[in-house]
Symmetry: D2
Subunit: 419 residues, 4 copies
């Protein structure tokens, strides 16, 4: 029998940021395997090219080495090398039936955890051992709940298939897309995603959430040619002229009457010295909209502006998508079903249907959309826990009684649909 609190605290002590969840994911593989699940992971679980905002090779390798040092199983780890850290556990029931899936995100944040005496993990000896990284968004809890659900349904006494998806790199809305692109959502009939906290108090459950924005995060590179600014300025191809032109024109993309939008060039960096024509610049751009279609159109305009700002100054360029999400249209039927089951779980006392979610964007949106596109249904639930500090804050924490309670809720949902 898994000790959920110990598990969660172990994850909390070893926070790993997006695409470096080597130790966490290898633990998940070990436990799922020991519970008799078929486990899909490494390059089988992710489309490598569809990973967004992948860290540099050096960062990936350093995290890999750290996981090795911290006792992760080398044989499992080897398959995850280079940032393939998704894990999917599959259990076929003893009778035919639909496929029900749950999503659990595993990654931590680049936040320095508090050492204040009143910070619960500090007081109880399970503060992050990786200085500068922290589970400040409850994904340690999510991963733990996923393993609890795995245990609860390990006997396979149900009709259909259970699929437990442990996702890397939700922060920055980067990881879900690569799992979707690998086709792993294609056979799912019902998908349940959730988040702990999100301004919902302990005891309250929301069956569905709306208000997530479509967004695209891009990293653009402008490649020119340097030259001495005094001796031969005309021989340079000025990357900063291209980038500055792009910046102004991106901000000048018009308002859309078809849905409110946002654009931002959040970072621009280029050039090396006063007397050198800048040969390189990079730019981080973000688009958003309430509408997926409008966001796609704004993204397209950003791409066009960058392409021609570069070409105007004879620059080469490259645009990488480093993150993205779309709105979530949850299925009311699933939200209602979730609330019905929640009413049977001790500890839940407040039940709401679709509430506006305060989290901005979520890449589970790609998973839900894929399921819906293929005729399935899905929802995104919020499960309350009182927060001592906001999400992403050095003193963020969850109440651990929510762990078994959430396991119970998801188990009931699974059994209901796999009956």
């Amino acid at each position: 029998m898994l000790d959920l609190v110990s598990l969660r605290r172990d994850f909390h002590m070893h926070p790993e940021v997006g695409f470096t969840e080597f130790r966490t994911a290898s633990k998940v593989v070990e436990i799922l395997t020991s519970l008799g699940y078929d486990v899909i992971y490494g390059q089988d679980a992710m489309d490598g090219d569809a990973r967004r905002g992948l860290p540099s090779e050096a960062v990936l390798e350093a995290a890999y080495e750290r996981a090795l040092r911290d006792g992760a199983n080398p044989a499992i780890l080897e398959k995850m090398r280079g940032g393939y850290t998704a894990v999917i556990g599959v259990k076929k029931g003893n009778k035919p039936g639909p496929t029900v899936a749950f999503r659990f995100d595993m990654d931590a944040l680049p936040v320095l955890e508090s050492t204040d005496a009143d910070h619960f993990p500090q007081a109880n000896g399970f503060r992050s051992r990786y200085e500068g990284n922290m589970h400040a968004c409850a994904h340690d809890g999510h991963t733990t709940i996923g393993l609890g659900v795995a245990e609860a349904l390990a006997a396979g006494e149900f009709a259909g298939t259970l699929k437990l998806i442990f996702q890397p790199a939700e922060e920055g809305v980067r990881g879900a897309y690569s799992i979707v692109q690998k086709g792993l959502l294609d056979d799912v009939d019902y998908l349940f995603c959730h988040h702990l906290g999100v301004n919902v108090p302990l005891g309250e459950v929301h069956g569905g959430s709306y208000g997530f924005l479509a967004t695209t995060k891009m990293l653009a590179h402008f490649y020119g040619v340097s030259s001495h600014a005094g001796a031969s300025p005309e021989q340079g191809k000025n990357a900063l002229l291209g980038a500055a032109t792009a910046l102004l024109n991106i901000h000048a993309i018009p308002r859309f009457s078809t849905g409110s939008t946002r654009v931002n060039v959040g970072v621009l960096e280029g050039g090396t010295a006063a007397n050198i024509i800048p040969a390189y610049a990079k730019m981080v751009v973000e688009t958003r909209s309430v509408s997926e279609e409008v966001n796609a159109e704004v993204e397209q305009r950003v791409r066009n502006i960058i392409a021609h700002s570069a070409a105007m100054h004879e620059l080469d360029y490259k645009i990488e998508v480093i993150g993205g999400a779309i709105p979530i249209n949850y299925d009311v039927e699933m939200a209602e079903l979730a609330l019905e089951e929640a009413k049977h779980v001790e500890g839940f006392s407040s039940f709401k249907m679709g509430e506006h979610n305060s989290m901005g964007s979520e890449d589970a949106s790609f998973m839900i959309k894929r399921v819906q596109e293929r005729g399935g249904k899905g929802t995104y639930m919020s499960i309350g826990t009182d927060l001592p500090a906001p999400h992403h804050h050095p003193k963020f924490d969850i109440q651990e009684e929510i762990l078994p309670r959430s396991v119970k809720l998801l188990e009931r949902i699974a059994r209901r649909l796999l009956a």
Copy 2:
């Protein structure tokens, strides 16, 4: 025997701007014909597509009608319709020999001529009859001199071929190129161009002139799509955003270490109303350099900036060259020969070789270059006359004694080379 003063005064009274020299050119055709010259004119004398900065159809037609009303020969005029106003007179000598050509420009300016009593044409009754147009750059004199030379050499008693080129639209450096592109300079061995005035006093002759700048004048059109700025801004394709982006980036073209340059966006006009996304904008751009190659490179950068500023905002665009010139590298041998002959013409008393010319740009440069490219030689002379007011001024005028004196000089040059 031609009365040069009467001829000049007749031209002065009927000033016709670039590509509308219908009356002037038809007179030239009549006189050359009567003198037994082979006359090339109309579409035989010009490459229509190579005419730069051609006026609108309406302007051309109105000028055509005016020339008709003012007694121009309808049969000749018909061949010039639509702005084909170049005339080339060819006389083959009675012995074989080289081909010697002279260039005379015929066009007037959009200047309102002075009515002051002390303005010589006003005082002597030959002020412009075309209000708002004026021969304020001595081309009436140039044309007259050309006809005088034609008469002087009409007997054909020389060895070789004489070619007298009467050019339209020198103002704005627009007309020479179309004659060159028609191939009419290809057989020329020696070419002499000249200008009266240009800050050279009466009695002085310069055998050659340098310092003319390479230049390109362009008219760019940006074509977008209008839309209501309140109701559906995203449906517009904003021509002014493209044009303003081009404007800033054109001015940001770097300095060249290989030759000093200039760039200017002289005109920008676009849009119709506050609440309409602008569907159209136009822009007039000028580049210059002491070097033809550098000017060509700057022009190419302007074109590239316009193309991509347009494409960035999903605009179509068109660039018309409406004027251009290149530097003149006169042949010292020709300049010396001209001065030697000038010393034999009464009235000339000061003789200089290559002096810096104060006129900026000249499209005779294309003619001289073509001759030189094919192994010939050429020069650009300045023939002095005291000026009561600067070129292009409402009180500009020349001293008429320079007319027969210039005819004599050019006749001597021709006879020397056709001996």
Copy 3:
């Protein structure tokens, strides 16, 4: 007894655009005077400096002369010279009571009226006699209705004061503000404005309308110094560089989370020739928002951008407000009262409260706001008429039976409140 149809047709034949309603306004003065009203007009009716987008002196004078030629009363006209074309008729009742006002706009549009045989005014001989101008927005009807109301209540047998406001230059949202600034709304307790048409069918009345956008229209001038672009570019102060910088940055004003916005630079014109550094440029800018406060903030940012874009290039600048409006918050009580009265007028059969208005912006908004600020109440009604073509279209027309019906409605509203 006024012949409303004849009156309307006379106005229709003599359409006068904003601030040039000399003939129309002088007719209004004559009729109101003949009906025994106190008439305020000329400089007594408008704050001259608060007139927005006033035409040039030449345009005003030409229209003035035309009105004279067309038989307008010279003594009355004299007081309106220079664009003072508002007229307010005041009638005090025979008992004390509140002040009730109605607004009627009088100006026409720069639209060329259709000559199609099926266009009613053409077919019936009252097409515009002022080619290029047209009553294509029903203001001829509005003015007629106002005079009808004046006649109906001329006896003054009511308790309180009646104020009939005939406004110039509603098109471009320019004229109302100057009447408000003159203080002529300060004593009004109840104000009723209305529009015929606006996609409301004949027989239907809306008691109130919402959805008008706050907007500001500005004309910005950039004053620099010209210089020869080849000879001395550094001596110029380039107005187009300043204007283009302003244009890009105006479009880059951020989205507001506090209310949706629009910005547009609708016109940019500057410069004179390829080889001259542009010394002057002008720009027409429009801002909009659903919120008056947000529009004011966007306007302030536009002003700041223009100021510093100019200063950056050592330019002087001037910004004129040439139009503006704010949202309308109609008083439900007045809308209900209007509908109650409409139910007693034959011909009206469909009654709606506040509907979204399709007209964009209205400067009656300034009048309603002033009344509300001082404790009064107001509304903006829509009175239906079937349209053969949209507002501002060459074939726009109204159904004339709406004229007496509207007079009846407004008379009933006045009598109810002045009882």
Copy 4:
């Protein structure tokens, strides 16, 4: 008797970049003191606020500690703490007379010295011990020559005053200005500056050099306000919008007919994340011209553009001058005198007057100008040495026989003028 070669090699092994010449300068102080010179150094030798491009406190402190570790005299060092590394040695002669000064620059470069076996310092065991820093511009030689001159003239048997100026931070044209601003050139009658190498072969001397460009290097900071780009973009003050606007407009500064110019924005960096409105940006800008006045005008335009680009977006800003130089107009009389003396020094065999210098910019220009402004005379000499690799190259080196030869030359110049 100083061993010049050993001295030079010691300096070469301990290269210190601009304003961190703690060890070098303290050695200079020790030697000058031991030779009986009055020594001005620390805050007495430099105007602290006039130091340009001063490194950060941390960099200064680390270099200070390193110098301490490497045996620099702590008592001397203490006075230089914080980057006060200029040293001036003054020797009054035994008779009255003029003041003659020589300038020697001491700083090294951030270049990684070659470890190739054929690199002379490597082969002879005196390669840089400070990895990443290198004397790759002969300033180790300059400093050595200065000390040799000090020794040669230590007896003070001359008429007048000798002033030996050891300058920090010539690289980046940063250090001379602070010495000038402290007034230390104000009493100088004759000033001789020089450089070894600069494409002049061993045995050749140039009495004067011209062609140095006026230049200004600026670091601009833009300070805005961050805000969430999705939730409240309008609350941000976008530093990158201001910086990009400045960048485009700086590049659009016009060409000057009064002297060729250069402008470059060499670095632009701002913003932190995709979803944050950037609150800070910095920009490195360089201006140049053949004319000090034109460079000053271009610098002024850059400042104006930055000021208004910032204000346009409600940003604060700060501009630091981090480097600068002006052209050098050497006095022909001094150049001739230097050549005359060189002819008496064994080893010099080729003598040229003013040659175009290939080094771009030199801040000794400020010293020469100050001397000339106060009635003195000065020159900038080039003393040849064959170079195995160009200046600033990892394999740069000088020929050591030039050291005593240069000492002899400068000694002769001093004695001639102090006779």
